[in-house]
Every structure is written in structure tokens, then in C-alpha cells.
């Protein structure tokens, strides 16, 4: 199998960052009650993961081991601030809606995880691809969670009313605890599926 397809498959399904590796949980809980914010967060994380992987991979030969993680954090912060500045300058409404969440991309463990686990040992192009697909795997789970939460919590999808007027919104879905339940259920499904697949072999 082509290395690029293999990486995509691993990152999207088999080794999904949230469901299997249990990384990036904090933002999964925090920004998934509204699909629009979730999409922007997912795009932000995907771009930052890809680009920081690319940069770490380019610089890896020159980075002293002792300050390796500090330099990675610097690179990640660099891209996150760029995303923040661009949103504030060109998409002020989106920036307002996301508030402090953009800055919090820095603390997303997936980005550091990919930089450490992949970019440190691979060439730039494939590292970029790995980062982008890892971000896409994260985005996939986030969108599923947000879909359920926004539908039940507000009765809307992308702020458009879907549920009938008589529907009573579930306040719990708007709050972070509901994401715990949904993510746990998704993990359960993912785990049992991978166990089944493993059993067949």
C-alpha cells in the first residue's frame, strides 16, 4: 500500500487521535456544542498540525535534543498566533465567536504528539500529510459530537432550526459533560469495531 494512503487510513480510523489515542480531549469537550465553531476549530487544528509537522521535520536535524520540545512548542505557538491574527483581521465575526478558543489550539496534545511521534523521524512532505490527516481524523470526531450536541441542545444544525418548535432542548447537551458521554460512546463503538476486526485475522 502506498505510504500516503496508509497514513491517511491510520490517522482517520485505525489510530484516530481522539478515539484510539485519546489525545486532544479538552477541545473535544469545550467547542463541540455548535457546529460552526467546531468546524473552524477543526480547520485551525488541522492547519496548525500540518504546518508545524512540516516545520519540525525541516528543522529536525538542527534541533538539539535538550530543547527539542521547547522548539516544537515555539513552532506550534507561531502558527496558532498566525491563525489568530488572520481571523481577527479578515474574519472578525468568526474570531469574536471563537473568543479564547483559538489561543487554546496551542495546548492541543495532538499537535505536539504528531511533531514528536512523526515529524521527528520523517521527511517534510510526508510529515505535512501526516499532520493534515491527523487533524482530519480529529475533525471527523469533533463534527460527529457537535452534530449530536447542537441538534439535541439547540434543535439546530449550523444555526438553522431542524427540530420542530415543540422540541424541548436538552440543556445538558449544551454543557461540557454531555461531550464526555458522547465521546465515550464513540470510543466504545470504535474499540469494539477494532477488536472485531482483530479477531477475524
Amino acid at each position: 500500500m502506498n505510504e500516503f494512503t496508509k497514513i491517511s487510513k491510520n490517522n482517520l480510523i485505525k489510530e484516530n487521535q481522539i478515539l484510539i489515542q485519546v489525545l486532544g480531549i479538552c477541545s473535544t469537550l469545550a467547542v463541540t456544542n455548535n457546529l460552526r465553531n467546531t468546524m473552524i476549530m477543526a480547520i485551525g487544528v488541522t492547519l496548525v498540525t500540518g504546518l508545524s509537522n512540516l516545520t519540525v521535520s525541516f528543522l529536525k536535524k538542527y534541533i538539539p535534543r535538550k530543547v527539542r520540545m521547547m522548539v516544537e512548542t515555539l513552532i506550534i505557538a507561531f502558527y496558532v498566533i498566525i491563525v489568530d491574527i488572520i481571523l481577527r483581521a479578515y474574519l472578525p465575526d468568526v474570531s469574536k465567536a471563537l473568543g479564547p478558543y483559538v489561543g487554546l489550539i496551542i495546548t492541543n496534545c495532538i499537535i505536539m504528539g504528531r511533531a514528536e511521534a512523526f515529524a521527528q523521524a520523517n521527511t517534510p512532505l510526508i510529515s505535512l500529510w501526516d499532520g493534515l490527516t491527523a487533524g482530519a481524523g480529529y475533525a471527523l470526531v469533533l463534527v460527529i459530537v457537535a452534530f449530536i450536541r447542537e441538534l439535541l441542545g439547540f434543535g439546530t444544525i449550523f444555526n438553522i432550526r431542524i427540530m420542530p418548535k415543540s422540541f424541548t432542548p436538552w440543556t445538558i447537551m449544551v454543557m461540557a459533560p454531555s461531550a464526555f458521554f458522547i465521546v465515550a460512546l464513540l470510543m466504545w463503538v470504535a474499540k469494539s469495531m477494532s477488536l472485531k476486526a482483530g479477531g477475524k485475522k
Partner: protein, 202 residues
């Protein structure tokens, strides 16, 4: 040079930090004007909305602001006012801490500070979906032409909107009691600041 040596490590850290921060400052410097314009425009729109002045686009918002809204600085507070046919409306920017964040916005009243004309938010970072809903139209509409009772507004728990504009009461957001309570305090504090500036008694 020894890659793991002290000298190289310090030099490398210094140079990478320098380069990345330099690039960021350049980006920041090249967009700062745009960002400030955005923020100013946002504030202007909030002021216009709170005064009930309509506009169709950003350009019109700016020109209407220039045309109708005047400012005066009293006691270190910027007082905004707008004179229409029969009356003058006054307003100030308010600021205060909510549950998580600083809530800022604009409130406008009639000349005797007996009735709220409108309220708009400029920035807030309350819980999205709960406290964050203070920016929703139904919530803000409760304040439109609301008569003050004893010079204050009361945000009462529960409900889906109190549109009786004579009772000085609006409904809080369900599940966001702390934000609603803070907002009540912020608004009442600023109403009394506005009264001081205008020299009216309640």
C-alpha cells in the same frame, strides 16, 4: 560544532526564537490597522444599534455614526449622545466582570435615565450556549424601552423573555444565573454612573 553542546543549544534557541518572533511581529504590524478598524467598527455598530439607528452596511454604519452620534468627555467617561426630533438620548460604554470574562457593551437611555433605549454587547467570553446567549436578540430585546423601577433593572430567574416594558424586569437566561446576576450588577452600576454624569436624580 557539537550539536548537543551548551553554546550551540543557546545559539540555536536564540536564533529560532528571534526569527519566529520577528516574523510574527511583521505580520502583526501589517494587520494591526485592519484589526483596530474592525474593533472600532464593531463598537460603532454596537452604539448605533443601542441607539436604534439603522444601517445597511459597514460604510453606512461609519457615516451614520459621524452624522448622528456626538461625544463628550465628562469625569473621564466618554458620553455618547444623539439628538433626534423631540429628545436627546444618552449612552455609555459599560465594562465589568461576568462569570469568566470581562463583559463590555453599550447602554443607552433617555435624558432622565428613566428608560433604557437599548443595549448591545461589544465583547464577552461567557460560556457558549449559556451565558454567551446574552448576545441573542430575544435577550437584548427585553431591554428595549424598558422603564426603570427605582432607577434599576432587575434580571429575574427563569422564563423565556419578559416583554412587559413597564416593570423594570427582564428574564435571565436559564442555566446562566451567574452571568445574568453579574450583568444586572454591571448595568445598574453604569446606570448610576450615567446619572452622575448627566446630573439627574433617580
Amino acid at each position: 560544532m557539537n550539536k548537543e553542546g551548551k553554546f550551540y543549544t543557546i545559539l540555536f534557541s536564540f536564533i529560532t526564537t528571534f526569527v519566529f518572533v520577528l516574523l510574527l511581529s511583521l505580520l502583526n504590524a501589517s494587520t494591526i490597522q485592519r484589526i483596530q478598524d474592525n474593533e472600532r467598527l464593531f463598537k460603532i455598530k454596537a452604539i448605533l444599534k443601542a441607539f436604534g439607528v439603522e444601517y445597511k452596511n459597514d460604510q453606512e454604519a461609519l457615516s451614520n455614526f459621524e452624522k448622528y452620534v456626538k461625544t463628550k468627555r465628562i469625569n473621564n467617561v466618554d458620553l455618547y449622545y444623539i439628538t433626534s426630533d423631540a429628545q436627546t438620548l444618552y449612552g455609555i460604554v459599560f465594562n465589568g466582570s461576568g462569570l469568566w470574562s470581562n463583559i463590555s457593551g453599550f447602554i443607552s437611555t433617555d435624558e432622565n435615565v428613566e428608560k433604557i433605549v437599548g443595549i448591545e454587547f461589544i465583547s464577552q467570553a461567557e460560556t457558549p450556549g449559556l451565558g454567551g446567549r446574552i448576545e441573542e436578540e430575544w435577550f437584548k430585546n427585553q431591554f428595549r424601552s424598558e422603564k426603570l423601577v427605582n432607577g434599576t433593572i432587575t434580571i429575574q430567574i427563569g422564563g423565556t423573555g419578559d416583554y412587559d416594558h413597564e416593570n423594570g424586569k427582564v428574564d435571565a437566561i436559564t442555566g446562566a444565573t451567574q452571568t445574568s446576576k453579574s450583568l444586572e450588577r454591571i448595568i445598574n452600576d453604569h446606570l448610576s454612573i450615567l446619572r452622575d454624569i448627566l446630573g439627574v436624580r433617580q
